[in-house]
Point group: C2
Chain length 210, copies 2
Amino acid sequence: MKTLKIPEATIIRLSVYSRHLTDVDRRGIITTSSGDIAEGVGVSPAQVRKDLAYFGEFGTRGVGYNVKDLRQHILRILGLSSDWSVSLVGAGNLGLALSSYKGFRERGFIITSIFDADPKKVGTMIGNVEVLPIEQLVEVAKQNLTQIGIVAVPAQVAQEIADQLIEAGVKAILNFAPVILNIPPQIELRNVDLAVNLEVLTFNVGAQRF
Amino acid sequence: MKTLKIPEATIIRLSVYSRHLTDVDRRGIITTSSGDIAEGVGVSPAQVRKDLAYFGEFGTRGVGYNVKDLRQHILRILGLSSDWSVSLVGAGNLGLALSSYKGFRERGFIITSIFDADPKKVGTMIGNVEVLPIEQLVEVAKQNLTQIGIVAVPAQVAQEIADQLIEAGVKAILNFAPVILNIPPQIELRNVDLAVNLEVLTFNVGAQRF
DNA sequence: TTGTGTTAGTGATATAATTAACGAACTGTA
DNA sequence: TACAGTTCGTTAATTATATCACTAACACAA
């Protein structure tokens, strides 16, 4: 088990490459190159090759990469060669947006259960999934062998929900609540803070001051 | 005009610090330290001091930082000392989620107009803002002196919408569509790709392979 | 077969970011 | 005033990441 410390930036780019390759493949293109990919996603060709080099040799010198092959390789690297069972907690506007987001299912993320604390929402259908009461979270998520939990609840209850997801056995949590969650180290955690993104923009708009 | 190249990671952390300080302030605490902040947001004390040092000296040695002062300083650095006029394009589930997101208004991001291409949505109210037809985007956004555009439309039309936002004079674009937008360099752009976040998680869950 | 052009993979170099270490400046006490 | 205890601001060291430059491998044409 060699742990060769792969930069997170590399993983993010691989994800982008794979989506770009999906496009290229749809256009019927058979072969591509690091230069093509670089241009398509806005990085340098050397960067593309370096990123791929962490995981093996996927191209042919003088020729380039086979689009379908490379795409498949990257998907396997990212862990997308099989589906993931996802539990969504919080059926508010954000939860609704996430559950209807096509990009998830396309990439193999299947929302197998949805929970909400609001009795008015419990029992309603979102897509083909029924909203269940939050009290059933641990039990149902465990039954479904849920691997990923999405936290789309108010900040005050986010930690509590995260604890329950972990109790249910999830391996990873995607957190949309703007709080620092306390999570055991073996659970993967990623925070998405929508306001932060706007603030990076406003900083940059006025950044000539510095 | 010295451009001292501030890491984006620093800006993101400043945003997190400021939110943490808002909490601390609400709890009535007057003084804090780099160590306290570090613990509260999960970074090192040296990191906190380094990040602040890019912008000046805000603390007192042997004492720490005044919570209210530091918070205000950071908000000003981030460009949040006055409101921003935001235009939201796309009133689907994601648009709805964004428009109802409390965190935006709290930080001074005011959604002043919402546009959608679907005639069924045009005329409906989201909060206290009426959904307008996409054809009025350029005109209305210009009138409102819109500074920021949020793109929450399908990928196929995202570039077209971005072009119109720029024509309307926005300075920054937050893009939720999974495409690389072609934007003049003086316009600030940030992409939020929801699927990428899940894919970083799935990579890490299986990362012992590497 | 030889030469030209192309492109991947990779080690070396350069840049950037984080962490560590330490002197300076303040508080409070005696 | 002197001293002990803090904590900032900053420089130096370390680590991480990205870029560059070169070599190896292939295609194709003459």
